[in-house]
Assembly symmetry: C2
Homo-oligomer: 311 residues x 2
């Protein structure tokens, strides 16, 4: 279906519960809250499902949209959710309308509007809201800026296109406070996260003249940093920051004697083949595996396989 | 004067040397190299002044545009240079055309085109090149993307506006390889820089329940990290990343017994007043000073003044 049909269906109905995905990010939450705000402007009853996994960072953006306990919705709308397995914890109903941008979307809704070329689901909602309300309000622009900017790493990731930049221009003109939001989303980290990053950087090891870089995160480091899972977002990208890096390995001790490995390459060797040696898998440029070994032994084993597969 | 007059003057003349500013950044270099490429397309003789302070990061973008030793230019064009004091080392001629975006520009050229509302000088060159050549080529788009993205911290700094996003969309469509360039410019750091960041993060101190954060960079840390001045870019922003920060202090030991202080606040106290106590100055939100003291003593003295001035 198209966006116009989505808008028509929404206008004809009432009483919506908006769903966000597991381990919710800025895109699912910002998109859902922005649409919720617009639906309320239309005079609809609309609320967000209280996703139990919302982190501290995003809670302030969505808390005022959570459905009251006695809300009995007639319809369910899923935002940025690629598949039923990604529906939020505790929800087991069926979905009426799916709004998403994942190419892999399994079209699990009664109606589905999926735009795989969009960098963020927020781009789609940015087009939908004016069809519903005729304009975009500042609160919606802020929420959609959260959606688009977080899904593109502040316009830095490879998914950023001319359309993304144009969406950002539109949001800025509708009042999105990019200065305040960027400070909060991209230039602020928890103290434990900075401590952990610091330990990772000072402990970086390298091989092959710096082309291979290894980051290790032990349970002891996590505890000394006071870090939790929330502080480990995108931690597997840090080793790859070193100038000249071609292959990065991140080893995380999950419990004594068990380590998770994330392997990323520029293509010089097949990451999934390397991880398959230990029962793991993934893609050529990024793969993972688990070893029953100490962090030290895990590093040694990974380096040895990398040496063997190096082209 | 306006951009059309600039374009007309350039078309009527020939033999240009393009100047970049001291401690050149991506904006001055990207703008100059892009304009140089366009001038060559017009059949003009045009080269970049060989700025002796170009860093390793930017050298590959500009090296092919450096003037040969025997080039005798008829005209000089300054890009992104706010004042004669910022003309590149070794240059002492007069400037014919100034193209810039600094509100403080002293209009030191015979002709001056300054656009203070632009986030980067590159935005101005993006408008100038099509007036000269009718279109924008991929090489120019890449160079202007370097200009605009670095001056806005990849669209994250507060100077980013709707016009900046629109410029980025235009550059993307003209072929700018934002994926490759972002990786190089924003997701890559030298090993010494990462090591130094790591030491700074693990050594962060705080006061007033985390509202005050202090980063210390000693000569010993610099030496252990193998870091040089090139690795210290924007180092004074790191302490301010901590969630809940209101006042950040960065103390750099310049030589034994002498420290430079950078103080940044959200306005809770006047940074320039605090720094004035030690003969320094600046603005309310950002100021600096130098103390003849060890890093330890410098931290103690700064914390004591902060305590005294806290609102």
């Amino acid at each position: 279906m198209g966006l116009h049909e989505c808008a028509a269906w929404i206008r004809e109905n009432d009483s919506f519960l908006l769903l966000t995905h597991r381990r919710p990010d800025g895109d699912t939450l910002g998109s859902a809250a922005a649409l919720c705000h617009a639906l309320k402007r239309l005079g609809k009853q609309a609320w967000l499902y209280r996703n139990p996994e919302v982190t501290e960072r995003y809670e302030p953006f969505v808390a005022s949209y959570y459905a009251p306990a006695d809300f009995r919705p007639a319809y369910f709308i899923a935002l940025d959710i690629a598949d039923v397995t990604m529906l939020p914890k505790g929800f087991d109903g069926s979905v009426d309308l799916v709004l998403d941008h994942h190419g892999s979307n399994s079209q699990f809704g009664l109606m589905n509007e999926v735009r795989p070329e969009a960098a963020a689901c927020g781009e789609l909602i940015l087009d939908l809201i004016p069809l519903l309300c005729g304009n975009l309000e500042k609160e919606e622009a802020d929420l959609l800026y959260v959606a688009v900017s977080t899904d593109t790493g502040c316009f830095c990731y490879g998914n950023t296109t001319a359309d993304t930049f144009r969406a950002a221009a539109e949001l800025y003109e509708a009042g999105a406070d990019n200065r305040r939001l960027n400070k909060l989303l991209f230039r602020t980290s928890s103290r434990p996260r900075l401590m952990l990053e610091g330990m990772i950087y000072t402990g970086l090891r390298s091989a092959r003249d710096g082309a291979v870089n290894v980051a290790v995160v032990t349970l002891d480091m996590m505890s000394r940093a006071g870090a939790t899972e929330d502080d480990c977002d995108d931690i597997a990208s840090l080793a790859g920051r070193v100038a000249g890096n071609r292959v990065s390995v991140t080893v995380r001790e999950m419990e004594p004697g068990r380590c998770k490995v994330s392997l990323r390459t520029d293509g010089v060797l097949d990451a999934s083949a390397a991880c398959a040696r230990f029962g793991g898998g993934g893609h050529r440029m990024a793969a993972g595996c688990e070893l029953s070994a100490t962090p030290e032994k895990t590093v040694t084993q990974m380096l040895s396989v990398i040496d063997e597969l190096w082209g």
